[in-house]
Amino acid sequence: MADSLPSEFDVVVIGTGLPESIIAAACSRSGQRVLHVDSRAYYGGNWASFSFSGLLSWIKENQEKADTCEETEPWKDLILGNEEGIPLSKKDKTIQHVEEFCYASQDSVEDVEEAGALPKHSTSVIPTSSEVLEEASATTEEECVPLDGQSSGVKGEETSPESPSENNAKCPDDHNSVEVTSLGEKHSDDVTSDQSVSGTENEESTSIMDATAEPKKITYSQIVKEGRRFNIDLISKLLYSRGLLIDLLIKSNVSRYAEFKNVTRILAFREGRVEQVPCSRADVFNSKQLTMVEKRMLMRFLTFCLDYEAHPDEYQAQKDCKFSDYLKTQKLTPNLQHFILHSIAMVSEADCCTIDGLKATQKFLQCLGRYGNTPFLFPLYGQGEIPQCFCRMCAVFGGIYCLRHSVQCLVVDKETRRCKAIIDHFGQRINASYFVVEDSYLSEKICRNVCYRQISRAVLITDRSILKTSSDQQISILNIPSMEPDQPAVCIIELCSSAMTCMKNTYLVHLTCSSVKTAKEDLEPVVWQLFTIVTETESEGTGASVQKPQILWSVYFNMKDSSGVDRTLYDSLPSNVYVCSGPDSALGNDCAVRQAEAIFQEMFPSEEFCPPPPNPEDIIYDGDGTQAEDPRFSNESEANPETLPEE
């Protein structure tokens, strides 16, 4: 694998987060020779998602004290007299205050390791010493579990739903035979959900459970063993169905690399209770919690918001006062005001003006109904798939990919003040005309004038949904307004196992807010309002019906928010070096897409940004040439993609 890297490119992209990946795809698509590198072993940077063991390694890495490695600068010998080097940062310092907690029972934890997709056999047919080492390091060690790198696979443990003998059995949640079924798709989400309770039991637990009503408590060893079922996003976002990212995915056809599910519920938290917010026309009419009068009020107001611009008289007088005050004047019950302010407009009570509130409400309503009953989509396997999809697109058009590849420095020509090359960790000089660098790769020296904000994050694995309904397969979003003056509003996204982000009978809960203090301080008050921790006694007496979901495992951390940094604040950066920011704290992805497009247009003003590629379906190789269009990949609304000439 000691393939050598070419040393001439048009564009070098450093970092594989969403904006960098979009830029790489756009450049490659427009015929540029692109080298895309990341110093990490995985795609996505802070946009990545991890399996459970992957996340544990990530946690460990970020808890380790940044060892002050002495600043050796071997690149100095590699640059010429009329050049100057701008060293890049060696260690990612964007993550802080990582705190991990495990509440699931750890009784039987002995030799647990993550089970793979294949029946486990020793891979020792060709043992090399380095391989054995790698194997050992691949299993994650973690303080609370004595893990043994040498353990002999997954055998034992009758409770393992993954035991080799069952590996060939079908479980419907996986993607097999999918294509067939999904093409003929007829089912709605509701159908899925009604059956999934029983479905879950059948498929997963032939050997675990007798048909008890309550599923057994999930233990820590089960989480570890089923670790690859988890796809845990570092940053939690959703796609607005009319947002810039969806538009770009469709336009560029990158959407073919991913699959999506609708977010199924918008929730609100009022007076200590979680409730579902009716937001579509159908929801409002079907709602049991609203009175007839409320239904009318809400419909009237939402209809007005859809084209509020046409009725300036209704809001002009109050356009600069607070949206929350404006709502009070609109003949809405407190109940409805709460829904609109926090769950639909999702704006701050304290400082959002009427016009912005109306805009936000309108955006929400416009996104409604494009794909489903809520304005949002979630990518199966997590948000971390999206940057990778753009990377695939870049590679398909010839882009070269190197993970685990760090860059020592940028080489700048002293005269022209333009960057002309990079020197990588092997000391290889790679020339290019344009350089795109993610913010976290820039040294402290370059960023010394920049003042960064922080994002507070928590990820919980829980045993049940925050709002139990007939279906246990829901993807929900819940905004909790700030409760105290110094406390941030928190956005919660709860994912179910069919989003392919967590194992069966668990839920993955993401909490996000702009940081005021550390993640734990910011988010814990909200966590304890909604969740509880496993207690030994509780597990037997299942009497109480309104139980809070129990946290099985959780992690808190702060992430640097490098969005919205003014370029001129970066110290002495050559003009052909473009900086991409890490994830922002907003729910959508507009910021990243806007940034990527702006940078691309600056580099190549005359080129189209991510035009649709030729459709592989249009290249017909078999004789009869009667293939029908495959609706999964075609894009009805757009013009026909260009076709490759047939040979």
């Binding site: 056999h121 798709e185 690859r228 969806i246 592989p616």
Partner: protein
């Protein structure tokens, strides 16, 4: 004509070291060409070939690595939703065989549980340069529960057989699957591609 001019659609994904002949296998099968024109790969994501097996039309969507294997940087999303994996090595290159366990680890991590994996030793036309004996490969594939086949994309040896056998196995697996879960057929893990979601419009 109906929208779906086939009875089955399967996604088959190729993996293995750079230079073992993955693209050649795909091109040979889908276009009957060898060697494939170089530049033509650019911009082509996957190849389609529809074959008929026992009177049923089976559409095979065959995905290549887009060169991301060269520096061990394949995206995880590449493996998602693959029905079958063709793990390829070059019989004249010991190194490509030695890397197989690494590839298996990737599969373990990212592929679906029920993915069918086939091990393929390519370039048997270069028999005099063989470095990996058939027996070693057979033992290895047996230990891993994989189906094994040796091919030559150049001479077109076993290439049809590789894909057609795979198609047969995929069909029988799919059948079995629908039999087992006929009631729960709405797969809970099922996402939809964006264009597919564009079904409901209201307001």
């Amino acid at each position: 004509m109906s929208m779906e001019d086939y009875d089955f659609l399967f996604k088959i994904v190729l993996i293995g070291n750079a230079g073992v002949g993955k693209t050649c296998l795909v091109r040979r099968f889908t276009q009957g060409l060898f060697p494939p024109g170089q530049g033509a790969t650019i911009g082509v994501d996957f190849m389609i070939k529809t074959v008929e097996i026992n009177g049923e039309k089976v559409k095979l969507q065959i995905w290549d690595t887009a060169g991301q294997e060269r520096f061990r940087s394949i995206t995880q999303s590449y493996y998602r939703s693959a029905n079958a994996l063709i793990l390829t090595y070059d019989i004249t290159c010991e190194e490509s065989f030695r890397c197989l366990p690494e590839w298996l680890r990737e599969i373990e991590q990212y592929a679906s549980n029920k993915v069918i994996t086939v091990l393929v030793g390519n370039k048997i036309d270069l028999a005099d340069k063989r470095e990996v004996s058939q027996q070693r490969a057979e033992e290895f594939s047996e230990a891993q529960d994989m189906y094994y086949l040796e091919t030559s994309a150049k001479e077109s040896d076993n290439v049809e057989k590789l894909f057609l056998d795979l198609a047969c196995r995929l069909i029988s697996e799919a059948r079995q699957n629908t039999l087992v879960n006929n009631v729960e057929s709405p797969l809970p893990g099922e996402g939809k591609s964006i264009s597919y979601l564009t079904c409901c419009n209201f307001n």
